[in-house]
């Protein structure tokens, strides 16, 4: 177990270093030069030289990478070309908002996905299962931006129930909740994307669980079906969801870019999209680095939580 964890942590560190190299390379792939991007096209060669010298951009690449890593550990992700603010500040402002948006939507997806998954397993291969499966499949195959737009067309334009976008200038967490009407649609759209994955995953694990001997024992000793489902099936089907939560982090983030740009939600996704339109590479790559590290840490945490929560899981040395 300890050996497994150590090896797993070592792999994670290697991947984090890999992500740093990746963002560093992408930063240098940027067309033109950093100096030109910051100083503008009219900057004189002398100015460019001074800038390069100041930021060590004229040094060999491996030295620059050293500087880059050192700055990362000091929490310095560079300066946004467009907003002229430190990238770390920009991201730190937005992360809590994203935690709320993504947390709420994941919660909603679990609340819908887990029970329907178990229900589908119980009714498996019957009409209800097929209908639910078909619904999830269609929702998950439809582009998520279209789900968002159709919801806007229906809920906002037709029935005027909810505002179609966040009002500008909302920055505080309290502000988010004060505008809870605007929060509903982004949360729902992001949840729709995850429900299909969760419910089908729970369905397949619940099918395995339902075939276990301990379920037969529970039924044989006269346990009510409701208790069998909640005590045994639900609990045992929930465990693997931890893994899927860790694994689906990149998808949730990618979905957030689209949802946030549609609903004007002031999070990382919107920042990322605006930076992409403005070719603001430090912001994009800073965000990428954070997401990459979050994914690695998330997967590692999921693995550890999984083995800690399920005493049957013993990672061997294989």
């Amino acid at each position: 177990m300890t050996g497994y964890l150590i090896r797993r942590a070592g792999q994670s560190i290697a991947v984090v270093i890999g992500v740093m190299i990746l963002t560093f390379i992408l930063l240098h792939l940027e067309p033109g030069s950093v100096a030109r991007s910051v100083l503008g096209l009219k900057a004189t060669p002398a100015k460019v030289a001074i800038f390069d010298n100041l930021y060590g951009l004229n040094k060999p690449l491996y030295q620059q990478f050293g500087i880059y890593v050192k700055q990362l550990f000091q929490g310095n992700l560079g300066i946004s070309y467009q907003l002229q603010q430190p990238v770390s500040t920009l991201i730190a402002q937005r992360l809590p908002r994203d935690a709320i948006l993504l947390g709420l939507s994941t919660l909603l997806a679990l609340v819908i996905g887990v029970p329907t998954g178990i229900y589908q397993a119980v009714r498996h291969n019957r009409l209800a299962d097929d209908l639910l499966a078909g619904t999830w499949f269609t929702l998950y195959s439809a582009p998520d931006f279209m789900e968002a737009l159709l919801l806007i067309a229906l809920v906002c334009v037709q029935f005027h129930l909810l505002p179609p976008a966040f009002p500008g200038g909302v920055t505080s967490i309290a502000g988010l909740f004060a505008n809870w009407q605007a929060l509903v649609l982004p949360v729902v759209v992001l949840a729709i994307n995850s429900v299909a994955g969760f419910s089908q995953y729970v369905r397949s694990t619940a099918l395995h669980v339902l075939a276990e001997d301990y379920i037969r024992v529970a039924r044989a000793k006269g346990m009510s079906e409701r208790l069998v489902l909640t005590r045994h099936v639900l609990r045992n089907s929930l465990l693997p969801v931890i893994t899927i939560l860790g694994l689906s982090l990149p998808d949730i983030v990618a979905g957030a870019v689209i949802a946030e740009s549609i609903f004007n939600f002031p999070g990382m996704g919107l920042l990322f999209w605006q930076s992409a339109l403005a070719h603001d590479f430090p912001v994009m790559l800073g965000g990428t680095l954070i997401i990459g590290v979050a994914t690695v840490v998330g997967n590692l945490a999921a693995d550890i939580a999984y083995s800690a929560l399920d005493p049957r899981i013993r990672y061997g040395s294989a």
Partner: protein
């Protein structure tokens, strides 16, 4: 070449360390062969294939029969509703939507197939080599894959797309470069499960070289599962291009695809010009569903031998959308 670390006894349970569920999922049964007959008799697969063939005909043969002007702006007829002459109306430049659908579909389908095939070839070779060689080389090769997997594909796509001036071929290159790691990881898991199997061991005992085993045993035995991932990456890449176009970072004008049509049409959706939105939306969803149906059906066939009531439909869906690791 590292020697196999275990004696060829039973197939190791849970073959690869990557399969979190363990148990019968990896590496049991008679293999991952793809039966053509099973494919042809599968209703889901054939429905998907029919839809795609029809859509292909619509996009590539359609323009030969249905001539439209797809290059010149004609503001005299902008935003016309469906009617005589324009079965699906016109867009904000007065361009026929039905004709646009055909042209846009060409790039969507070309992109899908090109990325699907390229991704599979690269991923198959990379994963098979990594799994076969093993040891430190494998560890390095897999950390490289892990790195690419740690960052959401769509995020990387946006970054790289905003660096280059995009055309269809550039997008194909970028999407291929970003999507092969999933296939590679999956194939490596399969190869690790195959390595201790008897026929591979027998081949090795008879003095087969690594390359022989790779080409004669590993590649044919993982081909089935690669075809499955290929269909999914076709669907994913069509989707990714449409999302990119929707965000306004797609290829610049004369280029069109269904996503571009959607994002242009969306501006007019609230004016009531529904015909600019629903046709591309419907074909987009239909084509993605069709490819995923084929992929699911293939998946069932490939993993079909290890049946049993419970497992029979366990892989009914792709479990994770878009960019999820595909090896569990």
């Amino acid at each position: 070449m590292a020697a196999p670390d275990t004696a060829p006894t039973q197939a190791s349970p849970g073959g690869s360390p990557l399969a979190p569920e363990g148990g019968e999922v990896a590496g049991s049964g008679t293999g991952t062969g793809l039966s053509l007959q099973a494919f042809v008799t599968s209703k889901r697969a054939m429905t998907g294939v029919t839809i795609i063939v029809l859509l292909g005909l619509f996009c590539f043969a359609g323009p030969l029969l249905y001539h439209t002007n797809q290059t010149q702006v004609n503001l005299g007829i902008e935003n016309s509703p469906p009617g005589p002459g324009y079965p699906l109306g016109t867009d904000q430049y007065g361009i026929d939507v039905l004709g646009r659908l055909m042209v846009g579909g060409q790039s969507s389908l070309e992109l899908g197939f090109a990325v699907g095939i390229a991704t599979t070839v690269i991923g198959l070779l990379y994963g098979a080599v990594s799994g076969m060689v093993g040891g430190i080389v494998d560890a390095f090769m897999m950390r490289f894959v892990d790195t690419l997997l740690a960052v959401p594909t769509f995020i990387l796509l946006i970054i790289v797309a905003s660096m280059f001036s995009l055309s269809l071929s550039v997008i194909i290159l970028i999407l291929t470069a970003l999507s092969w790691p999933y296939t590679a990881r999956l194939i490596r898991g399969q190869v690790l499960a195959l390595r201790p199997r008897e026929f591979v061991q027998a081949s090795r005992t008879m003095g087969a070289t690594g390359r022989w085993i790779l080409t004669r045993h590993m590649v044919p035995n993982t081909l089935g599962i690669s075809v499955v991932t290929a269909t999914f990456s076709i669907a994913d890449s069509i989707y990714a291009l449409s999302a990119l176009s929707f965000l306004g970072i797609g290829p610049p004008p004369p280029f069109t695809d269904w996503g571009t049509m959607l994002s242009n049409g969306v501006d007019n959706l609230f004016n009531g010009y529904w015909w600019q939105v629903y046709p591309p939306l419907i074909v987009l969803v239909v084509v993605v569903v069709a490819f995923r149906q084929i992929g699911d059906a293939l998946n069932d066939i490939v993993s079909g031998q290890r049946s049993g009531v419970v497992v029979r439909r366990r892989r009914r869906f792709r479990l994770l959308p878009l960019s999820a690791p595909r090896d569990w």
